[in-house]
Amino acid sequence: MNEQPANWVDIAALEDVPKRGARLIKTAHGCVAVFRTGADEVYALDNACPHKQGPLADGIVHDKSVTCPLHNWVISLETGEVQGADEGQVATYPAKVVDGRITLDTAFLVRRAVA
């Protein structure tokens, strides 16, 4: 196992992402979308719908899901799994809120780069 220690990085204030909204994070291997739910949970997912790579950060966030703006696929923010009759999964990354700040585990992002 090539386990790397967690590397939590402070990204931004929670308020920088609107409630029931998302913002993008640039990485060397494409964009990750950081979502904030109505209950102030944060989630990080690849910014591409498994259907036609729709930009998930531009979708409508409801409960713990996001609806892709291109063809209305609904994706679970918790698992990245596509909901309903459609199939597919989006990669998810550890994210949490600490003292009102959004932090991401960049170790996972690095692994995403090598994968």
Partner: protein
Amino acid sequence: MTQRLIIIGAGMATGRALEHLLDAGADYDVTLFNAEPRGNYNRIMLSPVLSGEKTYAEIETHTAEWYEENGITCRFGEKIASIDRAAKTVTAENGDVLSYDKLLFGTGSNPFMIPLPGHDLEGVIAYRDLEDTERMMGLGPDNKCVVIGGGLLGLEAAAGMAARGVDVTVIHIMGHLMERQLDEAAGYLLRKALVDKGITVKCSANSKEILGENGKVRALLLDDGTELPCDLLVMAVGIRPNTKLAQDAGVAVGKGIHVDDQMCTSDADILAVGECVEHDGAIFGLVAPLYDQAKVVAKTLMGDEAQFVQKELSTKLKVTGCDLFSAGDFAEGEGREDIVFRDPARGVYRRLVLEDNVVVGAVMYGDTADSNWFFGLIREKTDVSDMRETLIFGPAFQGGGASDPLSAVAALPRDAEICGCNGISKGEIEDAIAAGSGDLAAIKASTKASASCGTCTGLVEQVLAVTLGDDFVIPAAASICGCTDMTHEDVRRMIKSQKLTSMPAVWQECGWKTSCGCHVCRPALNFYLLADWPLEYQDDPQSRFINERKHANIQKDGTFSVVPRMWGGITTPDELRAIADAADKFEVPTVKVTGGQRIDLLGVKGEDLPAIWDDLNKAGMVSGHAYSKGLRTVKTCVGTDHCRFGTQDSTGLGIKLEKILWGSWTPHKLKLGVSGCPRNCAEATCKDIGIVCVDSGYQISIGGAAGMDVRETVLLCQVPTEEEVVDVIKAVTQSYRENAKYLDRIYKWMDKVGLEWIQETVEDLDTRAALVERFDLSQTIYRKDPWAQHVAKAETYQPLADLTLEAAE
């Protein structure tokens, strides 16, 4: 030979009697007197008018045209002074003497005013007619109102005013509300529901005196010394048959005007109907027996046999959110047994009173779905001994297994009442179906069933399904989405009537099943709330589709397209240069002319949007809203300026309309076209709203489309001046905003409400002006250039963080 019929009173009973007479082809010359300065309206629907769920126009049952078409002489606003039975004449207040062959009393009832000291002060009213309703509607959130009377009428008045934000207190002399229809337990639940609506309720309260100041009401004083300040005091403590005229004429009168089973009074040529009569010791306040009487009185006037029979009555309260039903007699007594069911968590209460294994009374609160079935048991005097154990749970639990609602309807006898408002039985609906009425609309038109309050619509549909079998499929009322069982129409009604001004309020009050809606319902709710409450509501960008959130059209690769406004399709070399410069600077791959005569810059990166807007703003251009459920474009031809056929300044009108309408949100996209002559170069007749200029003025037509459906517009009206064009279009647009379902184009809305309704709406100058005013008000808040506003928050279009370095480590 034609006989003269004089009717005194244009109320619900005489209105219905007139209809029956006309249906039967009666040979009467009818003169109709009415003390109120108007014709017949549905008085039982004043409560929804008060709460804002309906308008007066919606409850008017007979229009001036109707009376005219049917040759009825109307003398509205006039009272009868006296009647000379020997000479068979009536004398009107102005001294006119008219003779009659038959006279019909429909004088209704007077509200009973408690003769408290101060009852004649200004601001002390009853709840009886449209004037009273309007007085209550005139109160605002800063006003206080006291309602004396915790019965049906008083509570509907209180709830209606509370829905408008008025501070309302209900004073009731008895220990619990609606004590004639409810027992204590149901009264408690009702009281709790009203208190939750912000209404203060005081039971066992005795009024002592109405206090005034300068001749106007100031407060109500109770006999325990409490003073309740108020700007208006509504007395809703009961009604008394209005018998004075009959009494003066020497007709036999008791509590009401005495009538026999044929509705004849003690004078064979004088008949009476409605709330003013006393039949077999009873007087009448609910609508169903009035309509039965109307049927009988019409038959009698036709010389046909008919007999009025009193039936068991049921009561429902017309207060949104208070589901209450009561029927029969529920007093306790020797030999009577009770079956009670309570579910405190759901706020449900049911009580049945049995005597000799027959249900004699029922009270239900919170869940009244089975009320018709129980009411049937009461009226049929069904022996319930076989189903006693499960009786309280309703028809679904009788005879093993959940029963099919259709078989329950199939089992109803022909005289079972389906529509309580109009007294229509199952048999009458079956007859109408046999005569060719094959759907709900036809049944409504031919029998009036479900045409009043509409609560029996489901039952009528079930009768249709039972009678027609597979030929009729009950239309499932489609809910907005999986978050709710309510339809768009239900939710719009709730938003208006309950004054829900935020999305959490809608989720809560309408029982949303999800924590915060979904991508289907939230954009709809966001629109409904901003359309209905432009001042109170805060627009929610997170409930808008990305196009409206980022003010550009998302493309398949996640880039956006940007369309600046070109008013009426006119541009200048400077604007074209600015567009060309922007296209160069932001490496726009495709520049295209749109179907609406605008220029589209396709393929702009999301993070570049604020910068390209800024450049276009600097050249004087604003967003074309080419992405919005709102005004898109006004397409024009060249009109009189250059065209040899053009009439009127069609280009100028197009520009003017676009400058007035831009930035307005609508249920779906809104496109206009203005053509200068019937050659129609702007293709105005396939737009949502089209204007074709002609020599004599402007033809305005609506309901066109050239999308998934291709539709030609239909003529709405022709007007002579540009000013009127502008007003009519503002009014139509506002009516569409206020009434249509989200994502319905104008043509779909028009198919639902009917062109005639829209025509009536904009042709009535008062209604038109009110719509224009509300449109203008909304524009003061919502007509902002989103590009200019969003440039200021350009950073939110940038990535939140750049981890390219860290990820590469």
